[in-house]
Amino acid sequence: MKILTGNDLATGDVIWWTGSGWSRHVEESADVGEKGDEIAQTEAAARRVNGPYIIDASRDEAGIRPAHIKDRIRALGPTVRLDLSLKPADPTVGTWVI
């Protein structure tokens, strides 16, 4: 699947396109199919996202997982500071990245 990501303009937070808006949680991403560029252009022009780009991802029982480690780290947070990640209470979450 193809998903769309970028950063919030004002806060810099990593955000993911849900189909109707933006979320900080990758598991809420929508498959943008062939419409990624069009959505990215519209949303960037409206200042709802900064630097949007399309990535490959897969969906399984655990949710949506970006194909590249860089985007998995973006989705979670630094692997060396899991206390600052989006799932600080989950000690196993680091394995999801690697």
């Binding site: 303009l9 004002a10 810099g12 990593v14 780290i73 630094p78 692997t79 060396v80």
Partner: protein, 544 residues
């Protein structure tokens, strides 16, 4: 240390106002990101993996306690409670909001700090010996010259749109603690036969994709002509530089392509012309700046003896302190390399603890090292025990300066949008493998440097053991280099062979140290043994 005058303060305050307006216009949609990006970069604001990253300049690595407390305040108020000291003696914060950036810069301006020229195609923060003004082996304090060069080049129109970034380092000791010859322009203050101070000049160094060690281009430039000489170097580069190809824009490429003899000839030709223009620093201006760096009022008659009854304290003294030029004083190195921690990271509370110690025990003076540690440069030996106890209470009394766990590592793929692989977890695993202090001391001086991409912010080319993280088909892979140095015996590390995964690179480092322990002769450091026996015994152990 240098203090802002009316002009400095007005310039920095105006810059804050300008950036506040630029940020407001970006947030209001009056500028696109393409228009805004070069403006934010000129104020040290990057967009990284998780948020904006703000890099703040610490000129020649010198801070006072008021400034360090402000850095702690910024960490606590605008970031997530910590900051990260970099290999250019700067600090950066990785969780900054764009909407907060103008306020942060305004707060910094109240303590005479800024983020100007910490990014972009400019002359970056000038780095210097962290022991400046304290080192027993220096011939003078190099920082007045660094400050003069900083003032003369900041916002200079000829240097505002350079082909690429430009890095200067400056020392005044035979011992190189600043990775001197890994800079575009490297200046070492020396004395000629007449006893006059001047500069030995090296040019064309740099790491990154194409590493070069700076070539010596002038054995002695009179001190009062150094700005003419710097202008000549920059002008020759600016005239020739390949602005069409990002991989050929750094000055090191030009020096290499022209040949350093031809580069030097052209610099000398430009120098002869610029000298006639009278743009050098007047002696009175040097003396005005130098007055800010006058030695603090060292006490005389202090004891040199240290009570070493506490073995942990004695160990710390032996490893973490260095000789001071004033009798009865010592230089204290504060490790930011706790095993299990993140090298260069420091919490707001630790910043405040160090600021308190500097104020009480070190004439309000703190230094940042390119090795991502801190220094209290002027501590009475009779105060060392109290300082050690306070550092211990703050979690800052680790013993590992220049040992195997004192690892330089860039932020890597955990934070950096340019990185291909993570650096910090590799540093942590190596540090855990070698955590035992007796083992570290047995290995002696051993500098490991790790970069998460070819840009080499972690100085892997200059590591006795260097590690470069690469992306191999979407998987992190780590190459091992041996034999580099960033000290006065500068050398370029060589790749040993095929790369490793995360655990494999730690094993490879351990096998490398095993060869050293087996082969070393009396008094040899790791690097000495490597240079004597060559790479083959190491390759055999690693890949055999």
């Amino acid at each position: 240390m240098y203090r802002y005058d009316h002009y400095d303060q007005a310039i920095v305050d105006a810059r804050v106002d300008e950036f506040r307006d630029q940020t407001a216009r970006r947030l209001a949609g009056q500028m696109t990101e393409d228009q805004f990006k070069p403006l934010r970069l000129k104020n040290g604001l990057y967009l990284q993996l998780h948020a904006y990253m703000l890099r703040i300049a610490i000129p020649y690595g010198t801070l006072n306690s008021r400034q360090l407390r402000m850095l702690g305040h910024i960490a606590r108020t605008y970031d997530r409670g910590y900051g990260h000291f970099t290999t250019r003696q700067n600090i950066q914060y990785h969780w900054i909001k764009l909407q907060d950036a103008p306020d942060i810069l305004a707060e910094l301006a109240t303590v005479e700090m800024h983020a100007i020229q910490t990014s972009g195609e400019s002359i970056r923060n000038i780095s210097a010996d962290q022991y400046a003004g304290a080192a027993a082996d220096e011939i003078c304090d190099p920082r007045p010259w660094a400050e003069l060069i900083r003032q003369a080049t900041t916002f200079h129109p000829e240097f505002s749109y350079l082909p690429r970034k430009f890095k200067i380092a400056l020392i005044a000791s035979p011992t190189d603690r600043a990775a001197l010859r890994w800079h575009d322009l490297a200046l070492r203050i020396v004395r000629n036969e007449a006893g006059e101070e001047g500069f030995e000049v090296f040019a064309g160094g740099g790491m990154g994709r194409t590493p070069f060690i700076a070539y010596p281009i002038r054995a002695f430039c009179p001190a009062d002509q150094i700005f003419s000489y710097i202008q000549a170097v920059l002008r020759v580069w600016n005239s020739h530089a390949r602005r069409d190809n990002i991989h050929k824009q750094r000055m090191k490429i030009l020096v290499h392509d022209l040949g350093h003899e031809e580069f030097t000839r052209q610099v000398e030709e430009a120098f002869a012309h610029i000298l006639t223009l009278g743009t050098d620093f007047p002696r009175a201006e040097y003396e005005r700046i130098a007055a800010y760096f006058a030695p603090p009022p060292f006490e005389t008659g202090l004891p040199d003896e240290i009570d070493r009854a506490d073995p942990d304290f004695a160990l710390w003294v032996d490893r973490q302190t260095a000789p001071h030029k004033a009798p009865g004083y010592a230089i204290v190195n504060i490790s930011l390399k706790r095993v299990g921690g993140i090298g260069g990271d420091i919490t707001a509370e630790q910043m405040e603890a160090v600021a308190d110690l500097a104020e009480r025990y070190s004439f309000d003076d703190i230094r940042v090292t390119h090795g991502q540690n801190l220094v209290l440069p002027h501590v009475r030996k009779q105060d060392l025990y109290a300082v050690w106890q306070a550092l211990d209470a703050a979690g800052l009394a680790d013993v590992n300066l220049d040992l195997v766990t004192d690892i330089i590592a860039c932020p890597g793929l955990d934070y950096c949008s340019l990185a291909n692989a993570r650096s910090i977890p590799i540093a942590q695993k190596i540090a855990q493998r070698f955590a035992d202090i007796d083992r570290q001391l047995e290995l002696g001086e051993l500098k490991i440097k790790i970069s998460g991409c070819i840009n080499a912010c972690g100085h892997h080319h200059a590591g006795h053991i260097g590690i470069l993280g690469v992306d191999r088909k979407g998987t992190e892979n780590y190459q091992l280099l041996l034999g580099g140095s960033g000290a006065e015996d500068t050398s370029l590390g060589k790749i040993t062979g095929p790369g490793f995964d995360e655990d494999g690179i730690v094993d490879a480092v351990e096998k490398t140290t095993d060869v050293y322990l087996r082969e070393r002769q009396d008094g040899e450091r790791f690097l000495d043994t490597y240079r004597r026996i060559g790479v083959e015994p190491f390759k055999e152990a690693i890949y055999g």
